[in-house]
C-alpha cells in the first residue's frame, strides 16, 4: 500500500536517511524501532512531505507521492501524529478536532466522528471547551490521535506515542491503537523507542540504525532475536 524505495533525505548537509526501503501493507500494524537520531521521525516527515526526499521514491497505492505537498498527502489518506503531539495550544479541544477534519465537508459525518473520538477518550468530551495547551501529556496524546482520526486516514503514522507518558497511560494508548486498527481497518505505522511495546503490538517490524534499515521481520521473531534483545530490549 505504502512503499518507500531507496529514499534519501537531507537536513541541510546532514544525510539523515541513507536509502530506506520499506513497505506497509493494508490493514497491518508496522513498527519501526531504533535508537535516538536513527532517522525514525525523519522517515515519517519524509512520508508526510514535510521534509521531502532528495532521492528515491515513495508510492501510495501505486501513486507517486514523493514530491507531493503535505496537504495533498493528507487528502490521499496518510495522516501523521507527530512527535511531541503538537496540539494547537490556543485552540480548544473541539477546535483541534475540527482542524483534524479540515479537508472534509460532510458536517453530519464529522459530528459522528467527533462522538466516536469522545467515546474512545471520554476525558476529551469533558474538556471540549478547554484550550489544548492546558491538557496533560497523556490527554494531549489522546487528542492528537483523535485529531488524526478525524481525517479518516487509511494509514495512520504515529511518532513516539509513548514519549514522556506514565506506563498506565501508555498501555491505554496502545490498547486504543489496536482498537482503531481492528474497528476501522486502519493501517498503522508506529515509530517507537520503546521496542518491547512496539514489537508486541506489531504484525511486522523494522529496525533502523544511522539512517538505514538493518533488520526486518515479523514482530514475534524480532522479539526473540538475540541482537535486538541485547540492543533494544535490555535483556
Amino acid at each position: 500500500m505504502l512503499k518507500l524505495k531507496d529514499v534519501h533525505t537531507y537536513y541541510g548537509n546532514i544525510h539523515a536517511l541513507k536509502g530506506i526501503n520499506l513497505e506497509v501493507t493494508e490493514g497491518e500494524v508496522i513498527s519501526l524501532i531504533g535508537a535516538n537520531g536513527a532517522g525514525k521521525s525523519t522517515t515519517l516527515m519524509t512520508t508526510s512531505g514535510i521534509v521531502p526526499a532528495k532521492q528515491g521514491s515513495i508510492t501510495f497505492k501505486g501513486q507517486d507521492i514523493t514530491h507531493m505537498p503535505s496537504d495533498d498527502i493528507v487528502k490521499l489518506g496518510i495522516c501523521q501524529v507527530p512527535e511531541g503531539r503538537r496540539i494547537f495550544p490556543y485552540l480548544t479541544i473541539a477546535e483541534n478536532l475540527d482542524m483534524g477534519a479540515f479537508l472534509r465537508n460532510d458536517a453530519n459525518e464529522i459530528k459522528k466522528d467527533i462522538e466516536y473520538a469522545y467515546s474512545l477518550f471520554p476525558i476529551l468530551a469533558e474538556r471540549r471547551n478547554q484550550a489544548g495547551g492546558t491538557l496533560s501529556g497523556g490527554e494531549q496524546q489522546m487528542l492528537a490521535i483523535s485529531r488524526a482520526l478525524m481525517s479518516r486516514p487509511k494509514v495512520l503514522l504515529l511518532d513516539e506515542p509513548s514519549l514522556g507518558l506514565a506506563p498506565i497511560i501508555v498501555k491505554q494508548i496502545f490498547d486504543i491503537i489496536k482498537k482503531i486498527n481492528e474497528d476501522n481497518k486502519t493501517t498503522i505505522f508506529i515509530v517507537e523507542q520503546n521496542a518491547n511495546l512496539a514489537l508486541k503490538a506489531a504484525d511486522r517490524g523494522y529496525v533502523m540504525e544511522n539512517g538505514v534499515i538493518t533488520i526486518s521481520d515479523t514482530g514475534e521473531n524480532l522479539l526473540v532475536n538475540e541482537d535486538i534483545k541485547k540492543a533494544y530490549l535490555g535483556m
Partner: protein
C-alpha cells in the same frame, strides 16, 4: 520588576488624573470632543493595525509595506469617485463602488506583495524578509508617485452630512461618526470570521504551528495569502474613510499612518487581534488628549515616545500572551 512597572503606571495615571479632572470639569464638552476625536483616530489605526498584527501572528513578519496598501486603497477610491462623479452617477452608487474597488485593488496588491516579496523568503532569516518589506514599501510609494502625482489631491468626502445628524454635528461630525460605526461593524465581522469560520480556525492553527497545520491537511500558503488579503481589505476601508475625513490624499499618506498603526499594534501586543484594537484606541485617545491639552506640534513625537516606552518596559504589549502550552 512587574510590580514596579504597575506602581509606576499607577503613579503616572494618578498625577495625570489629578490635573485632568480639573481640566475636564472646566470644559466637559471640549473633553468629550477630544475623546470622540481620539476614537475616530483610533478606529483608523485599528483598521490598519489589524493587518500588521495578523500577518505578524502568522509569519512573524512586520509587513512595512502595509501602510502603502492603505494608501493604494485611498488612491483607488479617489480615482473611482472622480471618474464616476464626472459621469454624473448617483452618489450612493459611487460610495459603494469606491469602497468595492478600493478593497479589490488593495487586496490584489497585498496578495501580490506577499507572493513576490515574502514567499520566496519564507525560510530565510527574518531580517531578509523585513528588508524586503521596507523595499516593497519604498517601491510602492514611488510607483504611485510616478503613476499619479507627487502633489496632494483633494478628496471629496463620499459621506454626506446626514440631515438627522445635524443636532450632534458640533461635537462629532457625520464623517467621524461613520468612521467609528464602520470600524465597529468591521471588527465584529472580522472577530466572527476568526472565531467561527473554518478559514478563521485554520488561520489560528497556522499561526500556532505551521508544520502541524500542514499535517492536518491545511494548505499553509493559501492561509497566509488569505491573511494578507483580509488585512489589506480592512486597511483599504481605513484608507477610504480617512481620506473622506482629511479631504486630501497623496502617495505618502501610508507612511505615517502605517507607522502609527504599527505602534498601536505593538502597544496592544503584536500578534493579538483584540490587542491591536485596544492598542489603537488607547493610542488614538491619548494622542488626542495630548494634542488637545498640551502641544499639538508634538503629536508624532508623543506616539514614538510611547513606542520607546513600551519597548523598554513591556515589549509584549498590553495583551501580549505568555506561553500556556505544556510540553
Amino acid at each position: 520588576m512587574r510590580k514596579l512597572n504597575i506602581l509606576l503606571g499607577v503613579a503616572i495615571a494618578g498625577i495625570a488624573g489629578f490635573f485632568g479632572i480639573k481640566e475636564i470639569i472646566a470644559d466637559p464638552v471640549y473633553f468629550l470632543e477630544l475623546v470622540l476625536g481620539g476614537l475616530t483616530r483610533g478606529s483608523i489605526y485599528a483598521l490598519i493595525a489589524l493587518g500588521y498584527t495578523m500577518v505578524y501572528g502568522i509569519i512573524q513578519l512586520i509587513n512595512f509595506a502595509h501602510g502603502e496598501i492603505y494608501m493604494i486603497g485611498a488612491m483607488t477610491a479617489l480615482i473611482v469617485a472622480s471618474v464616476l462623479g464626472l459621469w454624473g452617477w448617483n452618489s450612493g452608487v459611487i460610495v459603494f463602488l469606491a469602497f468595492a474597488f478600493a478593497i479589490l485593488y488593495s487586496c490584489a496588491y497585498g496578495f501580490t506583495v506577499e507572493k513576490i516579496a515574502y514567499k520566496p523568503l519564507r525560510n530565510a532569516p527574518r531580517l531578509s524578509a523585513l528588508i524586503s518589506a521596507i523595499g516593497m514599501s519604498l517601491f510602492l510609494q514611488n510607483y504611485v508617485m510616478l503613476a499619479q502625482t507627487p502633489e496632494f489631491m483633494p478628496f471629496e468626502s463620499l459621506i454626506p452630512d446626514f440631515q438627522f445628524w445635524e443636532p450632534f454635528a458640533h461635537i462629532i461630525t457625520a464623517v467621524e461618526m461613520s468612521i467609528i460605526v464602520t470600524t465597529v461593524i468591521v471588527m465584529i465581522l472580522l472577530g466572527m470570521l476568526i472565531k467561527f469560520t473554518k478559514i478563521g480556525k485554520a488561520m489560528r492553527a497556522t499561526a500556532q504551528d505551521k508544520v502541524m497545520a500542514s499535517l492536518v491537511g491545511i494548505n499553509v500558503n493559501r492561509v497566509i495569502s488569505t491573511t494578507f488579503v483580509v488585512g489589506s481589505a480592512t486597511a483599504a476601508i481605513g484608507g477610504v474613510l480617512i481620506a473622506c475625513h482629511v479631504g486630501q490624499v497623496n502617495f505618502f499618506i501610508g507612511f505615517l499612518a502605517g507607522i502609527k498603526a504599527f505602534i498601536a499594534a505593538v502597544l496592544g501586543g503584536i500578534g493579538s487581534v483584540p490587542g491591536a484594537v485596544l492598542g489603537s484606541l488607547v493610542l488614538g485617545i491619548s494622542e488626542s488628549m495630548f494634542t488637545g491639552y498640551f502641544w499639538s506640534e508634538y503629536e508624532d513625537v508623543f506616539a514614538f515616545t510611547i513606542l520607546v516606552i513600551i519597548l523598554i518596559f513591556r515589549p509584549s504589549g498590553i495583551l501580549g500572551k505568555d506561553e500556556t502550552s505544556k510540553v
